[in-house]
Symmetry: C2
Subunit: 172 residues, 2 copies
DNA sequence: TGCTGATGCTTCAAGTTTGAAGCATCCGGG
DNA sequence: CCCGGATGCTTCAAACTTGAAGCATCAGCA
C-alpha cells in the first residue's frame, strides 16, 4: 500500500487508485478471497465429510437420475481421474452408488443412496446458511456487483482464451 | 449463464437480476473463476515447476534476507506443514536453501539460491504477462471494480469472523 | 531459577489434484 | 462390416493440502 499517487486528472478518476497491473492484482485478490472463504467453508462441514465430497453430493442431490463422471467433472471443474477417488470414498461410506448407464456401456451413473440423500439433506441447508452468514457483513450492493462481475469474468475466461490458442479457431 | 439482461436504467436497481442468495452465488462464481484462472496459470509454468513452488519463490524473490516458514505460511495462506514439503522440494532442486535464524533457534530462514533467483527472474515476468493476457479481454473498468470489491471482501473476511466468534453466531 | 504457555517447525495419515497412460466402448465413414 | 478417432473411466506417480501430534525453543513471570 502506498500513499495516494495522483495520476493525471484523466476523464474519470476511479474511486480507488489505478493499478498498473489490474490483472495481476485481481488475480491475487481472487486467490486470497478464495482461500479465506474455503477455509471457513470447510469448518462448517461435519467431521468425516470433505468439501469435494460435499460438492459431489450437492450436485447429485439435484439429479435423482444420477450423473456420469464426465458430467460431474465438467460441473465441478475437476479432472475425471479425481472423481474416481472421491466417488470411491462416497461409495465406501454408503452415500453414493455407481450404476450402469442404460445406453452407453462405457459410462457409469453415480447416484446418491437414500442414506446419502438424507445426509446431504441435513448438511446442505446448514452449509448455505453458513456461507450467507459469512458474507453477511458485505454490503448487499457489493455482493450484487461482485456477482455480476464474476459472472462476466467466468464467461470471458470460458470463451476468451482459446482465440489464438489451444481450442477452437477464431469464433470471431 | 445468460446473456445480458438489460434492466430499466433506474439508478437504484442493480444491473442484473437480484439474487435471493447473493452470498452463495458469489461464492460459486468465485470458485469457478478461481478454478478457470488456476488452470490457465498452471499452463504458463515451465515443466517441473508447480504453482505452489512458484508462489513460494515469488515471495522469496522480494525478500533477499529470506522468510521464515510462518511468514510464508501467512502470506500464502497455507498451513505450515504444507510448506515443509514445498521447501523440501525447492531445496532438493537447488533453488532454495534453509539457513539458521540469527536470533531464534526455532526458526529457519528460507532463501533463494543464486540459481533460484535466476530461475524466478526468468519465469516471473513471463507469468505476469500471461495473467495480464488472460484478463486482457475483460474491460478495464471491470478489472478496477473487481480489484476494489475483492479487496474489500478480503478485508471483511479477515477482520469480520474473529471478533465475535469463530464461526459466526447470529449476527442477523 | 524454574514453570508455563506460546511459537516455529516437522512428521504423519488421509484426502485431493493433476496429467499421462491404458482399456473398453462408441460412432461415423468407407 | 470394419476401422480409426473420439469418449468414458480407471490407474498411477508425484505433488499439494490440511489438521493433529510431537519436539525444541522462546518469553514472561513468580
Amino acid at each position: 500500500m502506498r500513499t495516494a499517487v495522483r495520476k493525471s486528472p484523466s476523464r474519470r478518476a476511479p474511486a480507488a487508485a489505478e493499478s498498473p497491473r489490474p490483472g495481476v492484482s485481481v488475480w491475487l485478490r481472487l486467490m486470497k478471497a478464495h482461500n479465506l472463504l474455503l477455509r471457513e467453508a470447510r469448518r462448517g462441514l461435519p467431521a468425516g465429510m470433505t468439501l469435494p465430497q460435499f460438492d459431489v453430493m450437492a450436485q447429485l442431490a439435484r439429479e435423482p437420475l444420477g450423473l456420469t463422471s464426465v458430467q460431474l467433472s465438467r460441473r465441478l471443474l475437476v479432472s475425471a481421474g479425481n472423481l474416481t477417488g472421491i466417488v470411491d470414498r462416497l461409495e465406501r461410506e454408503g452415500l453414493a452408488r455407481r450404476a450402469a448407464h442404460a445406453s452407453d456401456r462405457r459410462a457409469t451413473l453415480v447416484r446418491l443412496t437414500p442414506a446419502g440423500r438424507r445426509r446431504i439433506g441435513r448438511i446442505l441447508p446448514r452449509h448455505v446458511r453458513g456461507i450467507e452468514d459469512l458474507l453477511a457483513e458485505v454490503p448487499r450492493a457489493d455482493l450484487q456487483a461482485l456477482r455480476e462481475l464474476l459472472g462476466r469474468l467466468c464467461v470471458t475466461l470460458e470463451t476468451g482464451p482459446p482465440p489464438g490458442r489451444r481450442i477452437l479457431k477464431e469464433v470471431r
